[in-house]
Symmetry: C2
Subunit: 320 residues, 2 copies
């Protein structure tokens, strides 16, 4: 089987890897219908987050179940399924309160840029669609695995409600789907921010909001600058969410204290939202697949990374 | 008029100060029935938060209105009133969403350890009791000005609900009233923590909560250690509040990210809670005045500070 392997900075190779097999009775094997490159893949790709050895890549996936372990009861071969980038048992106490990405048995899925994938804890992780989807739905269904689920969590964690004034910091794929999610949750006004000098941006938002600041701010980048930007654009008592793994972020207690904001974030518990999001995509209420502005065949994965690294593409879809 | 003035580390003097007078038509002058020393007064008292010049002290107060400015309509001479340590107009957009301590016209009240006090924005700041209270109610009513209001905000910001498992980090006056507030809000279980090695304490809480952590954690100290303690004792998706001005606190984004907690805090918007808290005290449903374990006459204010600094007292009540 062929799949993507990162060897070092800007060195992704498409090469032979072992075919995944059932290793535990709770596993499933799925044939990938589509996978993609995540903004977070660029951290190791750029060498900012060094890797110790050649590393298979990819954590966003959807596809057809090929085989399931003996203990799997809720999905079966032939079904089209989507799962989060964190496998979860969906039954432990953390899962029960909706934090499946902090499942007590969570396993990161990191080998999805390939034609076949092993998914642990299949019963807790995978959600089947009502039927095998038509081809045009696949990009949108794929986004639910991470990028759309993360945008959705960003909006939910920032407490977006009907009528809310929302600021989305970051106009990458997650930010764009944070906009879509906020709209779906009824936001009255959505302001998207790209790169601004921190004070300048915050001052501009204050102007746009009668000097008050936004009700909800979605931080969709993960840098110190974007985090401070987000905090300073919130109104007093407002809600700031952050969903990108922070890199080099340090928050001063006193600054946070007088900002008077609510702060919530972390790895998106995508599994919590999958049934609702699948229904929205299935009924064509939302079309998050529009976030892919480059589609390549899986064997062109290296070009998929390059295009995103060089900002020629926002997000690359890969079809085996 | 005599009042407390801080001259430098551990040097509080009780000395002649100008009698406060109406300066703006929105002011009120009140004769203090009781005031007290706050844990936060110990930061400058100990020299950790240096002062530039001799500084009048005190921000917790209740008493009888003596005089009001022309524009004041909601309180009148003879009424017994309580106000927050931040004067607020209670009408700006920040006040309207319940963050009166971030009022756009907020003024810190810092001269309350005296016999007479000027309160700006009297209409927005002061709440009268149903009648002049009997003497035994005064300690409890005084706490509503800050320490009880802050404990209450800690519990509210940590989303304490009926049945919640609550951890209170810090067993000072705010922590104790955080316990009282949590109980009043229906907490199913409340665990109070004093000083522990951070990991040891968190591990102990995990043991006490089936390995899960607490639903709500009230951070009532304001140090790096207590903040990390609080974050690490929360369950995934739990709520951590912080209500003491942080001193030297720095939070790493990545740590916060994977902790998956909700974080909210800041200077307690006491004004939001005053009507409800006054009713509870008035009807003797709660007795937060028990937090005072030392009562002195106002002229002994220096001893009041000393006793708290040396941990001989948790909180000192001062009666003019």
């Amino acid at each position: 089987m062929l799949g993507a392997v990162l060897y070092g900075p800007r060195d992704v190779r498409f090469e032979e890897r072992d075919i995944p097999r059932i290793m535990k009775p709770t596993d499933a094997i799925i044939r990938i219908s589509a996978t993609c490159v995540c903004g977070s893949d660029l951290w190791p790709y750029r060498g900012i987050q060094p890797i110790a050895q050649p590393t298979p890549m990819g954590h966003e996936y959807c596809g057809i179940v090929e085989e399931v372990g003996n203990a799997v009861t809720s999905v079966k071969p032939g079904q089209f399924v989507i799962g989060s980038f964190f496998a979860s048992d969906n039954s432990c106490s953390n899962c029960q309160v909706g934090y499946q990405s902090s499942c007590q048995h969570a396993e990161f899925i990191g080998t999805a840029q390939a034609s076949v994938l092993r998914v642990p804890l299949a019963d807790g992780t995978l959600v089947p669609t009502p039927a095998v989807p038509s081809d045009d739905l696949i990009p949108s269904l794929l986004t639910l695995s991470d990028v759309m689920g993360t945008g959705w969590f960003a909006a939910d964690a920032a407490s977006v409600k009907p009528g809310s004034t929302v600021v989305v910091v970051g106009d990458g794929a997650v930010g764009l789907l944070g906009v879509l999610s906020s709209k779906q949750m009824g936001a009255g006004r959505i302001i998207a921010m790209s790169r601004h000098a921190s004070r300048e941006g915050a001052a501009h938002i204050k102007e746009l909001t009668n000097g008050i600041g936004a009700d909800s701010v979605l931080e969709c980048v993960g840098t110190q600058e974007s985090m401070l930007q987000a905090i300073s654009t919130s109104r007093k008592g407002g809600y700031v969410s952050y969903v990108g793994v922070p890199h080099g972020v340090e928050l001063k207690g006193e600054q946070l204290f007088f900002a008077h904001v609510h702060l919530h974030g972390g790895p998106a518990p995508v599994r919590r939202y999958l049934p609702e999001m699948i229904e929205l995509v299935w009924n064509r209420k939302i079309n998050p697949g529009k976030v892919f502005d480059l589609t390549l065949s899986l064997d062109q994965v290296a070009e998929g990374y390059r295009a995103m690294d060089e900002r020629r593409a926002i997000k690359t879809l890969l079809r085996p």
